[in-house]
């Protein structure tokens, strides 16, 4: 894998084809678990791990699986990997497992996993596929982190609450109270808040894209204009 290829896959996954705000795949977990930073990032990372593992597992066998049995075999492998992640979280991060609970097995049905397998891992070598899965997962994690942050600040006035579920009791002091004595804003915590915040994120991403496009067009115009002079 060349450095350029590496950069392309990373850029594509994290920014250009971001699953959360560009492809709009995997909405169910995005809306459901983004009520706080810790929840969002945890499920995002779990998804990233599953995507990287499944990319690495499926790419090497892509030429042995007959075309018509492709989807069931891919789903089977993804389901196995998700269950492995679920067991491990249950065993070693019990507090977090209780919070994320039902959303971990649901990673299997998150269309983003199968979509990347179909679009990328079934056509590319293992290393690239693993990286693609990881990059896409990290892109999703970033969106979940921002969304979780927005909803947590508006909803509870805190940041990183529940971090003790990941790092143990000692981490309780890492919780940041952004607005002291905040009375809470219910809308931000409930699903409509997730829709509104996600809409704003998508708008923000489109605005950035548009601005970058305009900038490059201006530059192109300029470079065309100069020789004409």
């Amino acid at each position: 894998m060349t450095t350029q290829e590496f950069k392309d896959i990373l850029y594509n996954g994290v920014w250009k084809q971001n699953t959360g705000v560009v492809q709009l795949l995997g909405m169910c977990p995005i809306l459901a678990v983004s009520s706080s930073v810790v929840n969002g990032v945890s499920l995002g990372l779990a998804t990233a791990v599953v995507m990287a593992l499944s990319g690495a597992a499926i790419a090497p066998i892509r030429n042995f699986v007959p075309n018509e049995a492709r989807i069931p075999v891919f789903i089977l492998i993804i389901a196995v990997l998700v269950t492995v992640v679920q067991f491990s979280m249950n065993a070693y991060m019990y507090g977090l497992y209780v919070v994320l609970g039902i959303f971990i097995p649901l990673i299997v049905t998150n269309c983003i996993v199968l979509a990347r397998i179909e679009a990328f891992a079934s056509k590319n070598p293992a290393l690239q596929s693993a990286l693609d899965g990881l990059a896409m997962g990290l892109g999703l994690t970033a969106v979940l982190a921002v969304l979780g942050g927005i909803r947590e600040i508006f909803g509870h006035g805190t940041l990183l609450s529940g971090i003790d579920l990941v790092f143990g009791e000692a981490a309780k002091s890492m919780v940041i109270t952004v607005v002291p004595n905040y009375h809470g804003f219910l809308l931000a915590i409930l699903p409509p808040g997730a829709f509104i915040a996600l809409g704003m994120l998508i708008a923000g991403k489109n605005w950035l894209n548009l601005r970058a496009e305009q900038k490059s067009r201006k530059q192109a115009d300029l470079s065309v204009a100069i020789p004409a002079n």
Partner: protein
């Protein structure tokens, strides 16, 4: 054609076998830590409401099976944990269900001292509105500790209501249905305890067996 589908079938079978094997291995590796952390979590809740000095037995193992009962709100047998000091029952931890929460069942555990006073109440699971009804969780609010030390003696039947309904229990504006359900469930649990304490406090069958065995050995 037949050959192709046979090939496909074998392929599927192959991956199914590998997948199952992987899962079996993972299960073997994680099965014990999972059981341990579940036990720890339960013990943490139990020790929160039944302090260590109130019993000297292995409270998690000393259990009584309680059949379904209207007062407990359960529709299946549940386990009660019995604490004893020198063999004398000192505290009982009951699992009860408040069926009439704002959105579904609220599962509680309640510890009751042998004098009929509540040691503490904790919510195990609920689906109340986040930000409104979830102050019944100890992680969110201290409200649930209002029950500490209450009993059927120091609170008359009419007192077992939230203040809005003329009872003696505080609640928070915006969510009355949730605390109403919890107060009712705790009241019923105390009534259950009053009616059933003798059978609950019967020595644990396993403890009996052990006692018999050691007697047998002496002979």
């Amino acid at each position: 054609m037949a050959k192709a589908s046979l090939h496909t079938a074998l392929n599927l079978l192959f991956f199914a076998v590998i997948g199952t094997a992987l899962l079996a291995i993972t299960y073997q590796l994680t099965h014990e830590p999972i059981a341990r952390s579940e036990e720890k979590e339960k013990l943490k809740l139990v020790t929160q409401i039944a302090p260590a000095e109130t019993y000297d037995n292995d409270i998690i193992k000393d259990t009584a099976e309680l059949a379904e009962d209207k007062l407990l709100g359960n529709d299946d047998t549940t386990i009660a944990y019995i604490g004893r000091i020198k063999g004398q029952p000192s505290i009982a931890v009951l699992q009860v269900i408040a069926p009439d929460g704002y959105s579904g069942k609220i599962r509680l555990i309640i510890s009751i001292h042998s004098d009929g006073k509540i040691g503490g109440v904790r919510v195990i699971s609920h689906k109340e509105t986040p930000g409104l009804g979830d102050y019944i969780e100890i992680a969110k609010n201290k409200w649930i500790t209002v029950f500490n030390g209450t009993s059927l003696d120091n609170h008359k039947d009419a007192d077992w209501k939230v203040k809005k309904d003329g009872g003696s229990f505080d609640y928070m504006a915006g969510a009355t249905i949730t605390p109403r359900a919890v107060v009712k469930a705790v009241h019923k649990a105390l009534q259950y305890y009053a009616q059933h304490r003798e059978e609950m406090f019967k020595p644990h069958p396993a403890a009996n067996v052990q006692a018999n065995q050691s007697e047998g050995e002496k002979k």
